[in-house]
Symmetry: C2
Amino acid sequence: MSKLKDIAQLTKVSVSTVSKVLNGKGRVSEKKRKEILRVARQLGYTPNYHARSMARKTKILTVGLIVPEIINPFFASLTRGVQKACGEDALVILMDSFRNLEREEKLIKNARFFGIDGIIIGNSRVSDDLVEEISGYIPVVVFDKFYELDNVVSIVLDNRYGAYMATRHLIENGCRNIVHLGGTHELYVSLERARGYEAAMNEVNLKPVVEPVGYNESAGYEAMKRLLDSGFQIDGVFCMNDLVAIGAIRALKEKSLRIPDDVAVVGFDDDEELCEIIEPPLSSVHQPVEEMGEVAAKLLFELIKGNSKIKRYVFTPRLVVRRSSLKKVKS
Amino acid sequence: MSKLKDIAQLTKVSVSTVSKVLNGKGRVSEKKRKEILRVARQLGYTPNYHARSMARKTKILTVGLIVPEIINPFFASLTRGVQKACGEDALVILMDSFRNLEREEKLIKNARFFGIDGIIIGNSRVSDDLVEEISGYIPVVVFDKFYELDNVVSIVLDNRYGAYMATRHLIENGCRNIVHLGGTHELYVSLERARGYEAAMNEVNLKPVVEPVGYNESAGYEAMKRLLDSGFQIDGVFCMNDLVAIGAIRALKEKSLRIPDDVAVVGFDDDEELCEIIEPPLSSVHQPVEEMGEVAAKLLFELIKGNSKIKRYVFTPRLVVRRSSLKKVKS
DNA sequence: TACTGTAGATCAAACGTTTTCCCAAGCTTC
DNA sequence: GAAGCTTGGGAAAACGTTTGATCTACAGTA
C-alpha cells in the first residue's frame, strides 16, 4: 500500500502538498499538481481510511445489521429497508448468524470493536442480558421485544392484532371450526400470534385449537395431516407463517378437500412471491417489513446522534385477502 | 466517546498503563487494574477502531459486496456464501444498488475510500471501464464475465452448458417442438442460455424458437400466451429462469394443457422453495450459488494477499429433474 | 529603499491507540 | 553494601492523514 509519503518523495514535495492536491484544497502550482496526480494514479494510491477518519474527526457512519439468515425473505426485505435508509450516508455491515445463537451472540459482542456506531438486531432470540450489556457501549435497535434501557429502541409488529384480524376474517367468512398451526417455539412472536387467534375465537365463543408446528413447509404438512387423520372437523386454518400454510394446503389437497370451500386458509408474513404463485393464492397477514427496516435505521441514527426520543415503534399489520379464504357462500 | 486519556485521568495513571490493562498486557498492580477496569466499564469505553487499526498494523479484513437487489434469492444465497467464507476473519459490507445502475457505479467507485480491502460485484451489468478503473486500486471479483486484468478474478457459471443440458433432457423425454422463453436482455447470461438451447436443438436438427421475455412471472405468462395464441405447436418449454417458467405454467394450465404430458417445462436457477411448491414440481437447472459466493470470497482473499494464481473459476450447473419434465411415455 | 501583498510550498500539531524502551524502588544474595 | 533481579509504571515514537499557521520569494507600489 502506497502512502502520501511515497508520492511526496517521488515528486519531491512535502506530504501536506500532496494531501492538498489530492483533496483539491489550498493552492498548488499547476505543474506540481499534474505531476502529483500522475504519480498517485500510477501508484494506485488510495487514502488510508483509518488515518483519514482519525485526522478529520468526521467518519462515515457504520451500522451493524445482524440477521439469523439472509436467505429468509423476511430478513432480506429488512436488509433492503435498512440499506434504503442508509442511502449514501452510512455503511451497512451485514452479519449472518446462520441461525446459530452462539455465533450470533459473539457477533453482537464483538460488533463494537469494528468501528460500528450502532447495531440492529434482526431477531428476538438474543438474551436480555446481552442486549443490556451491549447497549452500555453502542446504541441498539431490536425487533419484537421492548426494553427499558436508555440506549435501546424497539420496533414491534402488533402480531397479536394481525392474528386476531386473520381469525376474525375466517369467522366472518363462515368458518366455525378454525384451528391454528403455530404457538410453539420459544419465539415471542409465535406466542403472540397464538394469543391473537385465541382472543378472536373466545370473543365469539368458539373453542381455540392450537396445533404445535415447526416453521417450514413440511412441518405445516405434517401438522395438518395429524389433525385430519385424528378425525377433527375443520373448516378453517390460520397458520403462523406462509410456508406452514403452504404445507397445510398440500395436506388438505391430498385429502381432496377443496380450498377455500371446504377449508379456508390464511397465512402470515405475506411472502408475495409465494402467496401469489400457490393455488389457490394464499390470504396472508402482511408485515411492512421493508418499512420496518427503514424505520429501524432511522431510529438508530437518532440514537447515535443522541436524540433518543422514541423508545418503541409499533407497526400494524394488514390482511391481504386472496382466494384461499373466500368461501363462495358467505354467512 | 470516552478515550484512554479520560480513563487515565480519572484513575491517575498514564495512558499506556490503561492500554495495557485493557489489553491484558504488561504487569500492573491488582489494585490499579481493578480500578481501571471499573472506570472503563462505567464510562462505556470502547476503543477507537481507527486508532487501533493504525497503531497495530493489522486491521480486520473488510470486503464490499455489491448486489443489485438483496431480496432476490439468488443474491441472498450469494451473500450467504460470502459470509460463510468470511467467518470470523472478515467483515462484509453489503451494498444494494436497488437495480439502479448509476447508484451501483457510484458505490463501486467509492468503495475504496471506506476501508474496503476488496470488492465482489454480484452482477455483470457494470461497464468494463469501471471494472478496469477500480481494479487499479483494489482487488475485484466479478461474476459471469472474464477480464484480462491483473487485479480481477471471474466466477462464471457455464450457462450455455446448463441450457444445453436442459434442452437435451427435454429432447430425450420425447419433446420435438421445444421453445425457449428468454434470449432478450442486454444480459450476457441470458444470451448464453439461449445459445446453449440453440446448440442442443441444432444438434438433432430441430428448429430453435426463441421467444423474448422479461424476467418475472407475468412476463413468462404473457410470452407463453402469445405463443399459444399464435397457434404454435409446442410440447416442451425451456425457460430462462424459474419465475418465467412458473408464469408459463400458468398460461399452459389456462389452456387446459397438461404438464408434463402435453407440454414439458424446465426452468433455470432452481429456486427450491419455488420449484418444489409449484404444481407440478418444476425441473430446473441448479446453480451452486452459495458455493459460488464462498469461492468468490476465498479468491478475493487470495487476491488481497497477493497470490493471484487463478484468473477464472468455472462452475458447472446440474439439472434437477422434477415432475414438470417427465412425460409418462418415454421415447 | 522599504513596505505590502500574494502565490506557492512547508511545518508541525493533532487524531487515539499500541508498544518498545527505560526508570525507580524494593528486594535478594553473597 | 554493592550488584543483580523483579515489579510496577511512564515517556515517547509510531501509524497515515488533515489542516491551520508559517515561511519564502518575488512582484507591485509609493
